[in-house]
């Protein structure tokens, strides 16, 4: 696994590197000292894992994650846990307290490998890096609340001005991305542009009904009803009929 360490303190990076020597499966390919540097390094090197300090000058670790199109696996490192956990709705993140206990680090890495092996990825998924697959996760930050969301858990994207509302579970936070930009990055086999304002996850459709003007009405698992425009209905039918 390729990893990048992001921390503004040289000694903290050095210490983590030293601890990681015990884990040959983790290869530290680079380091970054702030969010800006980290974003460019993550986008070019595409690491599988980042170790991320939350409090950094300029942008915090959370701000940085929200700017990434897709996030690698993240293990947070922090000296103060209140700050890290306050922001999280779901406690499903891994964080290490500095100074890091080697046992905790081993647990976190083991947990990561387990979840990695569960995600059966086919070779084809790697062919085009700019397209996000169902297994990719995105980091969503809405004010004080943050989530890691797998694309497969997202039912619907709705355009709200320059923002997009992301529907998953019972949440619908806003992200600063246009629907057109999203459409370009999403896998069209799973995510379908139903009309000007909506992109739906095809696996989240519960029922399809005919609608006015030869359009369709999709009932999603969360109860949302989305109209498919006439033009898109033709495309939708083509896709569905083999």
């Amino acid at each position: 696994m390729k990893a990048i360490i992001i921390d503004d303190e040289r000694l903290a990076r050095l210490e983590l590197r030293k601890l990681l020597q015990e884990f040959p499966e983790i290869e530290v390919i680079d380091e970054a000292v702030n969010a800006e540097e980290a974003i460019s390094k993550i986008e070019t090197a595409q690491p599988d894992l980042i170790f991320l300090d939350i409090q950094m000058p300029g942008k915090t670790g959370f701000d940085m994650l929200a700017e990434l199109d897709k996030t690698p696996h993240v293990i947070f490192t922090t000296a103060h846990h209140e700050f890290a956990l306050k922001a999280f709705e779901v406690n499903a993140l891994d964080y290490l307290m500095k100074p890091v206990e080697p046992k905790r680090l081993a647990d976190a890495i083991q947990k990561l490998q387990l979840s990695e092996s569960k995600e059966v990825r086919t070779e084809t998924e790697y062919t085009n890096n700019s397209i996000l697959t169902e297994n990719d996760q995105v980091f969503v930050k809405d004010g004080e609340r943050c989530w890691f969301v797998k694309l497969s858990d997202i039912r619907l994207f709705e355009s709200v001005g320059n923002y997009a509302k992301v529907f998953f579970g019972t949440n619908k936070p806003l992200i600063l991305k246009s629907l057109n930009a999203l459409e370009e990055r999403l896998d069209e086999k799973t995510f379908f542009r139903a009309n000007r304002k909506h992109i739906v996850n095809l696996r989240m459709i519960e029922k399809i009904e005919p609608y006015f003007n030869g359009g369709l009405l999709l009932d999603l698992k969360g109860g949302e009803k989305i109209e498919v425009s006439r033009r898109q209905t033709v495309k939708f039918k083509e896709m569905m009929s083999l």
Binding site: E9, A12, E36, G58, A79
Partner: protein, 362 residues
């Protein structure tokens, strides 16, 4: 009178205004019922419709006059006075209300021609005088109920306020102790020390000493009102040395200390709090780091302490932060309004915290 017990039961569940009207209507309704009962028992010679009309008059006159009495009590703020001052005023008010009550009843009886006497032998004035004494027997208990209900409520509220205040003081004390040494700082330092153990064992050993010094003095100084500046400066130097180990070339420290000020008494850990704030809100947020400058000198009759740091003052976060409000509080406790504390942006990239402590002239 009976209603007083109900009051206690309903307080919690009902809005005060609703309770007031229920008691008003209930109380005066009860008076009407008693009148009806008496007329029945003593077999008073009176026509039923006249009796009912008179009872109605008493009912409404009672509500109107006591409602006016309540308005006067509210407006005058008598409830806020101590009992011995409020009682004479209330007794006068009872008298006035009783007169008003009688005038209303007797006036209505005249107007609606409900008088029971065949001939008018007594003058209206005399009748008012007589019935005022009677009616006082209604108004006085009314006022007592009203007054003691509010008195009881007020004292309960005061008890609650005292409790709240006590818990707030405790919380503040606790926060002060915690605020002195930030756990974030301790763990980050320990993390750096661990990395240094291999890289620079000499520096690591020194860092352990510095950290111990800070922890020790933060525990000791809790008990002292003031310490000599020199002692406080030792802590600050240890503290900044540790921060320097973390931030490396991102932190530069400059001291400008007038040696004559070293003996001056200062509140313990106050300058330390300001320096810690300068790191937390200033240096640690700058990608390229910055400078911290600590100044101590005399200015007129004041001992001036200044902490400057690279950074931007971000109004709401900084001025309401605990470090700053605790600084103001501690100065207030020790020197009253003679000491001063301010924090401001002095140019585009520098924030300055300044404390002025009056110098005692011997």
């Amino acid at each position: 009178m009976v209603n007083f017990n109900f009051a206690g039961i309903f307080i919690a569940t009902m809005s005060k205004n609703k309770l007031y009207w229920i008691l008003q209507v209930g109380g005066w309704g009860l008076v009407g019922l008693v009148m009806l009962l008496f007329a029945h028992i003593y077999d008073v010679q009176i026509r039923t419709d006249v009796l009912l009309k008179r009872i109605t008059i008493v009912f409404f006159a009672g509500i109107i006059t006591t409602h006016a009495l309540r308005a006067v009590i509210k407006w005058s703020g008598w409830m806020l006075l101590p009992v011995e001052k409020a009682l004479p005023r209330l007794l006068v008010a009872v008298l006035f209300t009783s007169v008003l009550f009688s005038v209303l009843i007797l006036g209505s009886i005249e107007i609606f021609n409900l008088s029971t006497e065949s001939k008018q032998q007594i003058s209206f004035f005399q009748k008012v005088l007589g019935s005022t004494i009677d009616n006082g027997l209604f108004i006085f208990p009314w006022l007592m109920i009203y007054y003691f209900y509010h008195y009881y409520n007020k004292s309960r509220r005061q008890q609650l306020d005292t409790l709240k205040l006590e818990s707030l003081v405790k919380e503040l004390e606790l926060k002060t102790i915690k605020a002195h040494i930030n756990p974030h700082f301790i763990f980050n330092s320990l993390n750096s020390i661990r990395a240094l153990v291999d890289e620079n064992p000499q520096r690591a050993r020194k860092a352990v000493t510095e950290l111990s010094n800070i922890l020790r003095s933060s525990m000791q100084t809790e008990k002292m009102e003031t310490v000599p500046l020199e002692k406080e400066l030792h802590i600050i130097k240890d503290y900044l040395a540790l921060e320097n180990m973390r931030f490396e070339d991102r932190l530069k420290v400059v001291y400008e200390i007038d040696e004559d000020t070293l003996d001056q008494p200062v509140p313990p850990m106050m300058l330390q709090t300001l320096v810690e704030n300068a790191i937390k809100h200033g240096i640690s947020k700058q990608i390229n780091g910055g400078v911290i400058k600590v100044v101590s000198d005399f200015k007129d009759n004041y001992h001036e302490l200044v902490v400057q740091n690279t950074g931007q003052l971000n109004g709401s976060v900084n001025t309401e932060g605990f470090g700053l409000s605790s600084t103001t509080n501690r100065l207030n406790l020790l020197y009253g309004d003679k000491a001063r504390f301010e924090i401001k942006q002095i140019n585009g990239s520098l924030v300055e915290a300044r404390v002025l402590i009056p110098v005692e002239i011997h």
